[in-house]
């Protein structure tokens, strides 16, 4: 780099750029937070959904599955599983695990009771109704 471009110039670009773009990021975040009520399906955030989210978390579902594309890539996307499979199939599936089929990927049994299964399904239904800009591309997730 040329000698006329000094270290203090570089330092000023760093501090100036970092501050400017962080403030811009905060402004965009503020706008996002204000826009979210129309997109994030918060009208349907019931107590049951909250319990379902907690079950989702304490059983570490994200350790195998993705939810809105984020998580592990070992098992199917669950952001649209409510539409793909429907509530009864989901509950029956969770209860039937593990399949024990030799050589196949296995899902543990989490010993959820019927009320808990309903909570989890409510959470998956709520998640599936978030406006994700039409992601995933198709029903297979």
């Amino acid at each position: 780099m040329s000698a006329s471009f000094t270290k203090s110039t570089a330092r000023n670009i760093f501090y100036g750029g970092a501050v400017f773009f962080f403030l811009l990021f905060l402004a965009l975040t503020l706008d996002t937070v204000q826009a979210l009520p129309k997109r994030d399906n918060r009208a349907n955030l019931t107590e049951q959904v909250a319990r379902g989210k907690k079950l989702w978390e304490v059983n570490n579902c994200i350790g195998c599955h993705t939810l809105l594309g984020e998580g592990a890539y070992f098992a199917p996307e669950l952001g649209n599983v409510y539409q793909r499979r429907g509530p009864e199939f989901i509950k029956a599936w969770i209860k039937a695990q593990p399949t024990g089929a030799p050589g196949r990927r296995q899902m543990p049994n989490f010993h959820l009771n019927d009320a808990e299964l309903d909570d989890l399904v409510a959470f998956l239904k709520y998640s599936s109704e978030i406006n994700t800009n039409n992601w995933p591309p198709n029903i297979e997730g």
Binding site: K7, A18, L24, R42, L45, G69, Y73, I130, E140
Partner: protein, 484 residues
């Protein structure tokens, strides 16, 4: 204080005899040695990470391997959490080593540094034992997750009490280093390092924010994950690399620090708004597709500059440092960070592409090479440079360095192969599952790409062999002197 031996070794690269790396070299500041246990722990946890990686790789093709003893989700949590923790040990070791030398004074409190080390190691080990010993839901219950639920989110699976422990460890570490910097010389390298480390601690606080609203949860989850790895961690990486380059090349500090500022300026200019590439499909407004695509498309630039920086400075070197392995790691981390974070990141960062690739093996491919290239390698650069000094010599013997360089190539080539095979798997996955008129279900698609998962697993074994050689290199004495 600089010992006479050290001064001779430093100034007289012209004289081969004086530059004997096996001479008894002393650290500039005695307290820098607290870095040693941190680096040893980092390498130990690294081994654990790779073992669990191999287990998961096998579970991808033999689904019931080790089930139900170690279900996939547990193995993955151990794999990713060990990665984070060993990198943190590496960053902390680097901080304890370089801050006293930059500040030209002893560490504020070496006792506190050692106490912090044991607290962090024990807390980390207990957490991993907890993951493996009891079901995750039981661990959540045992650790009082109900009081402040933060568990069960990717990479932030640690029990809430562990998270609080991490904050306390970070504060103790930052207090110790900040006191050292405040009382001593302030250099650009130490300022950037401290800014990165403080940023790491501050953004981690968002891990305690876990609203019921999934969109807000995800939105601010990225303030930990993205603003760490594509933000403040790059400052830490830049500072570590700059420190090692000053030492091994003898190039004027002014030039190196100018480069450092330019690189990290580009990092934050592109990377902060670049967070938007995670906001395409999680419920955030559609304008993030524009902001995220444009700014994250710039994110390869700082990594490319880092590569230019490393090669440029090494080419202009004013001394021949006997530690060739450290120079190799320094060059390698630039190249691999550019490929893994820069090129493989760019590959799927534009919104129309990401629409198809989001949450597939393409993401996994990028994640592997980026973490290895940027962070695993920069920690190994620092270890490679500083460990011999902490063991009383300027560089290891030729024989030891040869083994270390073999391990560099084995691990690096293995990681390139892992990335290529996962990329191939990812492209096929997208093609079969998301394109065309008759998309396959997730598992039907996975079955068809098992071949590439086998190749990935074989590459993982190669990586493990490289890692074993790396460890072996610490135990090779060798009589032959490394020639300058």
């Amino acid at each position: 204080m600089t010992s006479p031996v050290m001064a001779t070794a430093r100034s007289a690269s012209a004289s081969a005899a004086a530059n004997d790396p096996l001479t008894n070299v002393q650290l500039k500041y005695r307290t820098q040695a607290v870095a040693k246990p941190y680096f040893v722990a980092a390498i130990g946890l690294f081994v654990g990470q790779i073992v669990f990686g191999l287990i998961m790789g096998l579970q991808y093709v033999i689904g019931d391997f080790l089930f139900p003893a170690i279900p996939f989700n547990v193995a993955r949590m151990v794999h990713t959490n060990l990665l984070i923790v060993w990198l943190l040990f590496g960053f902390m070791g680097a901080g304890y080593y370089l801050i006293p030398e930059e500040s030209e004074r002893e560490l504020h409190s070496p006792k506190l540094a050692i106490l912090t080390f044991w607290v962090f190691l024990v807390a980390g080990a207990l957490t991993i034992v907890g993951y493996l010993a009891v079901p995750y839901a039981t661990l959540a219950q045992m650790t009082g997750n109900d009081l402040l639920p933060t568990m069960g989110r990717e990479f932030l699976e640690q029990p809430t009490i562990t998270k609080i422990g991490i904050v306390l460890v970070a504060l103790s570490f930052l207090f110790n280093l900040s006191m050292t910097v405040l009382k001593g010389r302030k250099t650009s390298i130490s300022m950037v390092m401290m800014l990165g480390l403080w940023g790491l601690a501050i953004f981690f606080l968002f891990s305690f924010y876990n609203p019921v609203n999934l969109v807000l949860d995800k939105y601010f989850w990225w303030w930990v994950v993205h603003l760490w790895v594509e933000g403040v961690w790059e400052l830490i990486m830049g500072a570590m690399l700059a420190f090692v380059l000053v030492k091994v090349t003898g190039v004027d500090r002014e030039i190196i620090e100018k480069w450092l500022y330019v690189v990290i300026a580009m990092t934050l200019i592109s990377g902060i708004i670049g967070t938007g590439h995670h906001y395409f499909w999680i419920g955030a407004p559609a304008y993030w597709q524009v902001w995220g695509s444009v700014f994250s498309a710039l994110e390869p630039i700082p990594f490319f500059m880092m590569t230019l920086f490393a090669f440029n400075v090494v080419n202009k070197r004013r001394r021949e440092h006997p530690n060739k392995a450290a120079v190799l790691w320094a060059l390698g981390t630039g190249v691999m960070a550019f490929l893994g974070a820069g090129v493989w990141g760019f590959l799927h960062t534009l919104a129309p592409v990401n629409y198809l690739t989001h949450g597939t093996q393409i993401t996994a491919a990028h994640g592997h090479m980026a973490f290895y290239g940027a962070y695993a390698m920069v920690v190994m650069t620092m270890i490679s440079y500083s460990m011999p000094l902490m063991r009383g010599r300027e560089a290891n013997s030729n024989a030891a360095q040869m083994v270390e360089m073999w391990s560099f190539w084995l691990m690096t080539i293995a990681m390139v192969l892992i990335t290529l095979f996962l990329t191939a798997a990812g492209i096929l996955q997208v093609w079969m599952q998301r394109m065309g008129d008759t998309p396959l279900s997730f598992m039907a698609g996975q079955d068809k790409i098992a071949f590439f998962y086998w190749l990935r697993e074989a590459s993982g074994v190669m990586f493990f062999i490289g890692l074993m050689l790396y460890i072996a290199s610490f135990f090779i004495r060798g009589n032959e002197r490394a020639s300058a």
